[in-house]
Symmetry: C2
């Protein structure tokens, strides 16, 4: 049984301010919740319909996760999905600690104000796929704990550390020890450059690109060449697509 | 001045059935409309606010495009965007003719039921960027003339031909002369395969992958390797991201 106040509280978590104050966020759907049950994320409370709880009750018991059985219509009231799917979890935001020294031999991603939640979620999923453990982002980047980002990340949010910070000053100090590869329109062809196995892939905002102050931190400007130069063609690639192509190329050059 | 009936008509174009019957679709926003003015697409009618028309009136005159000045509040009534931006065009759906013989020396994309409009728009933009002129798709693929696809394609929809057809039978006959590279989970590593410069990149549905019938048409199963095999990681890549990485690798191998 879920109370009116609980419903109101869960719905209030759609607001970033409330998520930040409470240190909580929401993940929905049978597959995603199941995926997060395997993660280190801490469940504050789980709401699910009977047939889902019938299956997962032993796991919830073992992990001592507080849970409440709700009806389909109650799920619809607390869900932000078009088709609510059996379970909704309220989770504690992880306490990701930023340690710049840990980046020195790794490939990481930095985002200068990605604003589309779908892109953000996809970038988290790309990072996870390519074994990239850290994403740095500006304070103005879309909140990675919003419903759309969490859902688009498909559980990858539990396997990638995301740090919102003063990106300009962090990159300024990182670039002394690490190459900062910026995705720009007039950089060097990523496919003919010899890339290092470690460094930062820096991606700019969907419409503005990398802002001037942060652009100064780039040590290696890179471009994904268009292969239709003779005709008119797209002006740019989607931010998550650019991230994916660059990450893939870094990994391709350093694996056999 | 725009009439109540015109507003009703424009709003009816949000429905695929109406778009198909009328052979029309909508594109919105100053940048996109300007981009499409350079394309071969035929404008049925253009609605825009005064300051936009002041700038573009000569172009509209030259191209003999019917247009109507509307107020900001009228634009808000006909727009499907959260922040309507100056202009809305009603365009004629292009008459793309499918010629299988034209694919023989080219790289093309085939989509087995992509259902997310954002993915579809991004894939069109990726195709345009990499000089891929043809996308084949199943009848069940999300309509490429829906507002979300058109907006996400960022004008690339005017430079890529999209054919909805019986994909299984078309690929069955194409595979006799062309390699069909299917993106699957247990294929060969795309980065260690020698890829041909021409062929079909086949991408499956976001959750179901490539359907069994169409899977039989694959001549070369390909996989984008994950570089985090030792830890748990994402189960798959987003469909548009997978398309982009594969298209980039085909082009990389065949350009110097």
């Amino acid at each position: 049984m879920i109370s009116g106040n609980q419903i109101k509280f869960i719905r209030s978590l759609t607001r970033k301010k409330v998520r930040d104050e409470m240190g909580l966020f929401i993940a929905e759907g049978s597959t995603l919740v199941e995926d997060l049950l395997q993660s280190t994320f801490i469940f504050d409370h789980l709401y699910a319909v009977k047939d889902w709880l019938d299956v997962y009750a032993p796991v919830l018991q073992e992990k001592r996760i507080r849970h409440t059985e709700i009806s389909q219509s109650q799920l619809e009231r607390i869900s932000q999905q078009v088709t609510p799917n059996k379970a909704l979890a309220v989770l504690r935001k992880p306490d990701w600690k930023f340690n710049p020294d840990a980046l020195s031999d790794k490939l990481s991603i930095a985002l200068d104000t990605i604003s589309d939640p779908g892109n953000m979620g996809t970038i988290i999923r790309v990072a996870d796929w390519f074994g990239i453990q850290t994403i740095l982002c500006t304070y103005d980047t879309t909140d990675c704990f919003s419903s759309k980002v969490v859902q688009a990340s498909m559980g990858s949010i539990a396997r990638v550390n995301i740090h919102c910070l003063d990106l300009k000053s962090v990159l300024s100090s990182l670039k002394i020890q690490l190459p900062v590869y910026g995705a720009v329109l007039n950089g060097k062809n990523v496919f003919s450059e010899k890339l290092t196995s470690h460094g930062i892939i820096l991606i700019g905002n969907e419409s503005q690109g990398i802002s001037p102050g942060i652009r100064d931190c780039i040590t290696h400007p890179l471009t994904i060449p268009s292969f239709a130069p003779e005709t008119s063609h797209a002006e740019s690639l989607n931010a998550s697509v650019a991230t994916a192509i660059l990450a893939a190329e870094f990994r391709r050059q350093h694996t056999r």
